[in-house]
């Protein structure tokens, strides 16, 4: 995915190295290959490539890797904002 980069310095991905048990579950599931096992601990290789999908956090057995998951989808966020403003449920074009 080197052709497609998104914004730098915005992701909520965080890794607590002390809590990590080195199982490698996060490494397997990351669709951007951001995580790697180094000396029996997970390491973040390329933080800014993270799209906050949450696969790593969901599959971490000890909550060492955390992220605020969600979909990077403008029409979804608009639907959420409109819902907050009007209290009505709005249809989103997202999946």
């Amino acid at each position: 995915m080197k052709d497609f980069r998104y914004l730098n310095g915005v992701t909520s991905l965080a890794l607590n190295g002390d809590a990590c048990v080195g199982c490698g579950a996060c490494v397997d599931v990351c669709p951007h290959r951001i995580l790697e096992l180094r000396e029996r601990k997970a390491a973040i290789l390329d933080r800014d490539a993270c799209m906050e999908c949450g696969a790593c956090a969901v599959n971490c057995p000890v909550q060492a890797v955390t992220v605020t998951p969600g979909v990077g989808c403008a029409s979804y966020l608009i639907a959420v904002w409109l819902h907050r403003l009007t209290g009505r449920k709005t249809e989103s074009a997202c999946c």
């Binding site: 599959n59 989808c73 966020l77 997202c94």
Partner: protein
């Protein structure tokens, strides 16, 4: 459907690995967006080829486009297909919504009496389901261990031949031109309602002027405004997806503003416009529409983060609204100033 395979848990339907013309028709309609919310497969256990109790179990969603994408890659493969009930939604989106989840997969395995069908205790899940499935919880709930399969179904035969090992390329999402182009019909289809009232409104507004209402102005100015809208839509929903990695800047609203401004220059030059107010309004209008639509394309890509999208929306929406309002004001004022 192509017959049944007998198992200890009863007959299991075998599906073809080649799509029929009716499947292709369904694919086209789902891609267009016309039937995508009701294009489903009955959840349960299916198979391809001649599977035995030792054959692998591939888990998938019950969106028919997903099911077809999977089975057409499995020519020559003997495998069980466990279709979870994701309410007709694809794996990635269903996982995000909590529909493709550990409890749902365990439920599907139990309902199909999978432990009687196969002798091993492994399920192969699509990697993009991992946002909704904690592998360890599947094992806890049904006794089957999750093996993460590749991102794309097309890599499954190689993955299976390779002793269920996915290499780096199989684990990585991509977004090639063909996948981006396939999204254009549904992007345009979803705009049909908005366009159905924008076009008449633009024509009507274009008729107002010093003579109160003029039919000739309605046609001349309305046509120009309609063309600007149409080109704005093409710039934002067709050009941006196709040229996504060729356009400068990372923020989508900027990419769309660029293609929209180019489309706007064309829309301002082509029809007979008067003074400088009308062309300026046209240029701003196309730019605003294209920028807005490009920003909304973020949800269709596999690399935008919600934090990033929110950051760009906070910058973009005020500017888009300003450009749109300025365009309308200039457009309505133009007949009175000349």
């Amino acid at each position: 459907m192509d017959g049944f395979v007998e198992t200890d848990a009863g007959p299991v339907p075998r599906v073809r690995t080649r799509l029929l013309p009716s499947d292709l028709m369904g694919t086209a309609l789902a891609r267009l967006g016309a039937i995508r919310s009701r294009y489903k497969v009955v959840p349960g256990l299916y198979c391809v080829g001649d599977p035995t109790p030792g054959s692998p179990v591939l888990v998938t969603a019950n969106y028919k486009l997903t099911f077809d994408a999977l089975r057409r890659q499995l020519a020559g493969v003997d495998a069980w297909l466990l279709v979870a009930d994701t309410r007709g939604i694809n794996v990635w989106c269903a996982a995000g919504k909590g529909l493709f989840s550990a409890p749902e997969i365990a439920h599907a395995a139990h309902s199909a009496r999978l432990h009687q069908v196969v002798s091993h205790r492994e399920l192969i899940l699509p990697q993009l389901g991992a946002t909704g499935v904690a592998a360890r919880e599947v094992a806890k709930a049904c006794g089957f261990t999750v093996v993460w399969g590749p991102v794309r179904a097309e890599d499954l035969p190689a993955f299976l031949d390779n002793g269920m090992h996915a290499d780096r390329a199989m684990r990585m999402v991509t977004f090639p031109l063909g996948e981006r182009a396939a999204l254009i019909p549904v992007e345009l289809f979803l705009l049909r309602k908005s366009l159905a009232w924008i076009f008449p409104a633009l024509f009507l507004l274009s008729g107002f002027g010093p003579d109160v209402f003029s039919l000739s102005a309605l046609w001349r100015r309305g046509g120009a405004a309609g063309l600007a809208s149409l080109l704005g839509v093409l710039a934002g929903s067709v050009a941006v997806p196709l040229l996504l990695n060729r356009l400068p800047w990372r923020q989508f609203w900027l990419k769309g503003a660029l293609t929209g401004a180019l489309a706007g220059l064309f829309a301002a030059w082509l029809p007979p416009l008067r003074g400088w107010l009308e062309p300026t309004a046209i240029l701003l209008w196309s730019t605003a529409i294209s920028s807005w639509l490009a920003m909304n394309f973020t949800g269709s890509t596999p690399f935008t983060s919600p934090s990033g999208v929110e950051a760009e929306m906070r910058r973009a929406i005020p500017l888009q609204a300003l450009a749109g309002l300025a365009a309308l004001t200039l457009w309505l004022a133009a007949p009175f100033i000349h």
